[in-house]
Symmetry: C2
Subunit: 369 residues, 2 copies
């Protein structure tokens, strides 16, 4: 696994049950997966040599993030190493502009968009769709980084100059909710699709996940159909997360992740097979597990750093006092806006379940209350 963050950490936990040997390419001995005892090799995802060293020790190479230069993946595939997902599928998560164009070309509903390399492009887009405009760096962004709102086209020149490869422009959409669907797919094309989950954002970061999503059955069915079909079309291997905007005009595909995903943490306790075990089974071409929900309502709340000090582990007891709270801490140093862990609660009704997850997460976030 390239990367040793919390996704690798939780994949490591799943690998222990199956007796699968997971080796992580870690940039630090303090990485969450390394701190959990995952075997590791120190190296950078930006170094082809490091990636090759990892690949030489593994049957198959997979990823805990999207930050590997596509050219390196192309080189590894040319050298005969097995990547899961492959380079072409992975690019759909690495390059938002490429993904948008490809999905549009395949006929999937996506937001209106344009590629801007000049201020004239931005002016033209604003004339057509009005202001403000949402601008995204095609590569490298996550958790709200690499996304800007252009309220005034005078600002646009400076922004364009600061981002390589131009900007992906979108109108600011009126979104009623955001959905996410996980699909796991093997190299042989076997696949399973998880229930539709609702993601609740704040400051462009996902703060809560609720499964099943509280949407009309036909919307859930459509999201399921689209996500499953995309997995086949792009020949995804492993877990694919498809994120949707729900608008008054229907569903729009926002972005893809080709790896276990924050929106799927609810599957650890909420589904028969967790996304982490499923990812391992899928990339190894093993039979997939059932994705069925284990409770009528499952909620996950992220634990996000509120300041630069303190350690959520020191507040563990307060979170565990919340009945039914499943606490996951990632062993990361606290930093403002950093995902430090998550809490999942399963139950009968979405309201109390969300409340309990949020309460336990806030106990872990707060130093003083």
């Amino acid at each position: 696994m390239v990367g040793a963050g919390q996704l690798a950490r939780m994949t490591h936990q799943a690998s222990i049950s199956l007796g699968i040997e997971l080796l992580a390419l870690a940039d630090s001995v303090d990485a969450p997966a390394v701190r959990a005892g995952c075997e590791y090799m120190l190296g950078s995802p930006d170094s082809l040599d490091d990636l090759r060293r990892l690949a030489e020790d593994c049957d198959v190479v997979t990823f805990d993030h999207e930050q590997v230069p596509p050219a390196h993946l192309e080189a590894l595939e040319a050298e005969g190493f097995r990547l899961a997902p492959g380079r072409a599928a992975k690019l759909m998560a690495q390059d938002k502009l490429h993904a948008r164009r490809t999905l549009h070309g395949l006929g999937y509903p996506v937001p209106d968009f344009a590629h801007a390399t000049t201020t004239a492009d931005i002016d033209a887009f604003s004339e057509r769709f009005g202001l403000p405009i949402v601008a995204k760096a095609p590569r490298g962004g996550y958790d709200g980084r690499g996304i800007w709102t252009i309220a005034n086209t005078d600002e646009a020149g400076q922004l364009l100059a600061s981002v390589r490869g131009g900007l992906l422009l979108e109108p600011r959409l009126a979104i009623t909710s955001e959905l996410a669907v996980l699909v796991a797919r093997t190299p042989q094309g076997e696949r399973v699709t998880y229930p539709v989950a609702e993601t609740i954002q704040s400051d462009a970061m996902c703060r809560e996940i609720l499964a099943p999503a509280e949407v009309l059955p036909e919307i859930a069915a459509e999201a399921t159909r689209i996500a499953t079909s995309i997995a086949d079309d792009i020949e995804a291997v492993g877990v694919l997360a498809v994120e949707f905007f729900c608008t008054s005009g229907g569903l729009l595909v926002n972005e893809l992740a080709l790896r276990p995903h924050n929106s799927g943490h609810y599957t650890i306790e909420g589904c028969t097979t967790s996304q982490f075990e499923q990812h391992l089974r899928a990339v190894l071409g093993m039979p997939l597990g059932l994705p069925s929900l284990l409770a009528p309502a499952v909620a996950t709340a992220n634990v996000v750093g509120q300041d630069g000090t303190g350690n959520p582990a020191s507040r563990l007891g307060r979170a565990l006092a919340v009945p039914g709270a499943h606490v996951h801490l990632y062993g990361k140093a606290t930093r403002i806006g950093r995902k430090l862990g998550h809490v999942t609660v399963c139950g009968h009704d979405p309201g109390p379940v969300r409340k309990a997850a949020r309460l336990a997460a806030s106990e872990l976030e707060a130093d003083y209350r």
Copy 2:
């Protein structure tokens, strides 16, 4: 944690979620917990120096087995180290004769028994209860080791000479079923009791666990009451497993384990809180989790080595093809009669659930079929 076997391995998995730092005293770098990345210190549970080195690095010392000399535990407590469970409670799992006498003295129902140090003692017991007699080494036995059937008192002298400290004698009982109840208890006396499980033995080794046990409600209630009361009486800390014989005359307490226990593996997927997370929470004095069952029927089948070769991991795909099979492999070398892993299945009816768990376990056991 003293010991680094599969119980420490699964406790390590649980410790990752909670961000708790688990350190195992391991006798080998090949131990299951070490292979799963648990931090470890090499040493022997028979060495007071090694135990002291471990204790010096930990807030609290707990156990994955019963094989620590009681005198060492007494020494550690005298030196001020915190043991969970404490020495006195732990002795109830380490010395079957002591446990039997203590439980009898407290008024709990136990099998008829005697302590035999001479052949005359054995003759007297056989005159009273008939032959065959079951003889147990008071200390050190597990998985059928340390248990003998005396069919003829002529054999008895040789057996007596081979076991230190005499023998615990019991009549051979007509057992209708065997039950196990887990209780988790904190140092402050907070406790939770898990559902009553049925254990199915073969060759004196537990092969299957079914929860809830298929017994009359009043028997389940009585087992729950007894197990909970024993936890309080002996001031257990952490997980206590109470094993019962179900006879036509009622329940009899067979033995105790003061640690996570094979009969509780079903709790990983079958209950809101697994016994491993619960053990960590209990020994650290944190709020305990809900012990509630997540499905009407949960079955676990042990994967037991059938020969000296082969590796169950090589047959993983076949086991994962069984719908709903949760596979746990311990990373141990295959040996006849050795527990190499287990499989849990949750569902609606005990019959199909047991069948599925057994099928997946047998796929992992068999090299040739």
